[in-house]
């Protein structure tokens, strides 16, 4: 099918059930709240290689944060709450505790909780103090620029979804990147989702397996423009570049909303940038519990 001159494949994105947690990081300025969260999101693109998928959900205005300062909400996705725990501890301990003026609070509210400040508080070496306000406990850890305030626990959900995606194909490499950036920026306004890859974009889509022993994934040769003609290609003759947006969300609906937002943006803006086709990645529908059919997400 076609929309505004762009072909939409009759296919679906296949995604997986995951566990997720989140934190709100605040600082004296939006710049430093973002700096701390960009740092803690580093090396958090794929759960396979990084142990966790991490990204910024959105920036928070002062009235939305527990301490009335500018903040950023970060979401982390992993295979299980147990797998999230060491990642959260290390990333908060090394990237947020260390960042000037930062404070760290629960970013997901749910009955099931995992430790947040339980580890970093020991950095206080006995000088840390606790403050219980209502049902929330905060630790105050003395540091060289004052105090690092961190909530004791954060929520964790096991109904999250990882691996929602859209694949964008175009005839102009620079134009396709611009259009994809616009789609990622639009997803940035959708709550409860992250796009964990660099700038939200993947240029190295993968297929399952490889010719080499021990590799569980390798390049998606059917979508590599430079292999057209040499392999069984999925690409039209004029396609020169393919980019993918991978989406993780706290709920299946959040992932669907993000995919719909990306598709809407590309349909509106993509043709002028050389986008010719929108597709999605799947494994035949047998591996992932969540299927997002592109035709159901069209405007």
């Amino acid at each position: 099918m076609k929309a505004n001159g762009i072909t939409i494949d009759d296919t679906f994105a296949e995604a997986f059930g995951m566990s997720a947690t989140g934190v709100i990081v605040t600082a004296d300025s939006p710049k430093w709240a973002r700096q701390a969260t960009v740092t803690m999101s580093g090396f958090g693109t794929s759960v396979i290689g990084c142990g966790v998928e991490v990204g910024i959900d959105r920036e928070l205005a002062p009235y939305e944060t527990p301490d009335g300062r500018p903040g950023v909400r970060v979401l982390l996705f992993g295979f299980s709450p147990d797998a999230l725990l060491p990642q959260l501890k290390n990333r908060v301990g090394q990237c947020v505790l260390t960042s000037p003026g930062s404070a760290c609070y629960a970013g997901v509210e749910s009955k099931t909780r995992i430790a947040l400040g339980t580890g970093p508080r020991f950095f206080g070496d006995g000088y840390q103090t606790a403050k219980l306000l209502g049902k929330k406990k905060y630790w105050r850890v003395p540091v060289m620029d004052g105090e690092f305030v961190i909530e004791e626990t954060t929520g964790v959900v096991t109904e999250a979804v990882g691996g929602g995606n859209v694949i964008l194909l175009g005839t102009d490499r620079a134009g396709l990147l611009e259009a994809t950036e616009m789609a990622v920026a639009a997803i940035g306004k959708v709550p409860d989702v992250i796009t964990p890859f660099p700038g939200g974009i993947v240029r190295s889509g993968s297929k399952v397996g490889a010719k080499y022993d021990g590799m569980i994934a390798s390049t998606n040769d059917a979508f590599c423009p430079t292999l057209r003609g040499a392999v069984k290609s999925e690409l039209a003759p004029d396609t020169v570049s393919v980019l993918e947006i991978v989406i993780d969300g706290l709920t299946s609906q959040a992932v669907a909303n993000a995919m719909k937002t990306a598709i809407d943006t590309i349909i509106k803006e993509g043709l002028d940038k050389g986008v010719t086709r929108i597709s999605a990645g799947n494994y035949g529908g047998k591996l992932g519990q969540h299927h997002y059919h592109l035709r159901e997400l069209l405007p």
């Binding site: 605040t26 527990p66 301490d67 009335g68 300062r69 404070a103 000088y127 103090t129 606790a130 403050k131 219980l132 306000l133 209502g134 929330k136 905060y138 105050r140 004052g146 105090e147 305030v149």
Partner: protein, 269 residues
């Protein structure tokens, strides 16, 4: 808002114990049994019906119309629902409360909120000594909940308090937070002499201290994020009753260094 109303007809000439008049204890009682509840504290064994006219039906709210400094244990043991006293309360109001809301639209006596572990107490006037403190025989004072006093509070507020928050929109008397183990006391108009005597942990917040103990160390002026968190928590919990929000700027005094010294007095402007 359904509930029972107790109208005080006879000014009590002895101290009376109103701890039975809370929603959970009255829920299953017929009116005749309620009128027969013993509230007197002498051998006369005076009953609810000797002092109060009762109207309404059992529900989530109990209202007491008319107060007296002889009305002790108002809302003691309250675990849910709301108790409103339109008048003054005697001693031990809200003692050992675990939940719900107690609103005293008058003054409160000593030991208000002693042993409080949850819920909210508000007082329209001032409160006596030992608010949120331990009573003889108790291990701790308050261990949770919020006490909000629109006026001032007497001496030794929060003695051996472990958790929770006490707010005085006015001042506190001598030795606020003595032997305190945790929690927060916020005196919006300032503390009397010697706050934090033998303070181990916990936070005392106010604009002035009448006389600082020599066992508190000047730790300098800071911008404390936890004060912003506290302000927002109280604003969300108390609404219009919340004290004016704190900017975070505070002059910190650490102590009491005669003990482990992990407590603090924060002088805020």
């Amino acid at each position: 808002m359904s509930g029972l109303t107790f109208r005080l007809n006879t000014y009590p000439d002895e101290r009376i114990d109103l701890s039975p008049l809370i929603p959970s204890r009255l829920a299953s009682l017929p009116l005749t049994d309620i009128l027969a509840l013993v509230v007197g504290t002498t051998k006369r064994q005076l009953k609810v019906g000797d002092f109060f006219a009762v109207s309404g039906q059992s529900g989530d709210t109990v209202t007491i119309q008319g107060g007296s400094e002889h009305l002790d244990f108002v809302g003691a043991g309250l675990d849910r629902g709301t108790l409103i006293l339109n008048g003054d309360a005697g001693a031990y109001a809200g003692r050992k409360m675990t939940g719900g809301e107690l609103h005293i639209r008058g003054r409160a006596g000593a030991w208000l909120g002693s042993g409080l572990s949850g819920g909210l107490i508000t007082v329209k006037g001032s409160a006596g000594d030992q608010v949120g403190s331990m009573c003889p025989g108790d291990k701790f004072g308050m261990t949770g909940g919020i006490v909000h006093v629109e006026g001032s509070i007497g001496d030794r507020v929060g003695e051996k308090m472990r958790r929770g928050t006490i707010i005085a929109r006015g001042t506190t008397g001598t030795h606020a937070g003595s032997r305190m183990l945790g929690g927060t006391i916020w005196a919006e108009q300032g503390f009397g002499p010697g706050p934090g005597t033998l303070l181990r942990r916990g936070t005392l917040i106010g604009p002035t201290v009448e006389q600082m103990l020599p066992t508190f160390a000047d730790s300098g002026k800071h911008d404390l994020v936890i004060l912003r968190v506290l302000s927002r928590y109280l604003s969300a919990t108390l609404g219009p009753l919340a004290p004016s929000p704190l900017s975070g700027r505070a002059h910190k005094f650490s102590g009491d260094l005669a003990t482990i010294g992990k407590g603090e007095i924060l002088i805020v402007s």
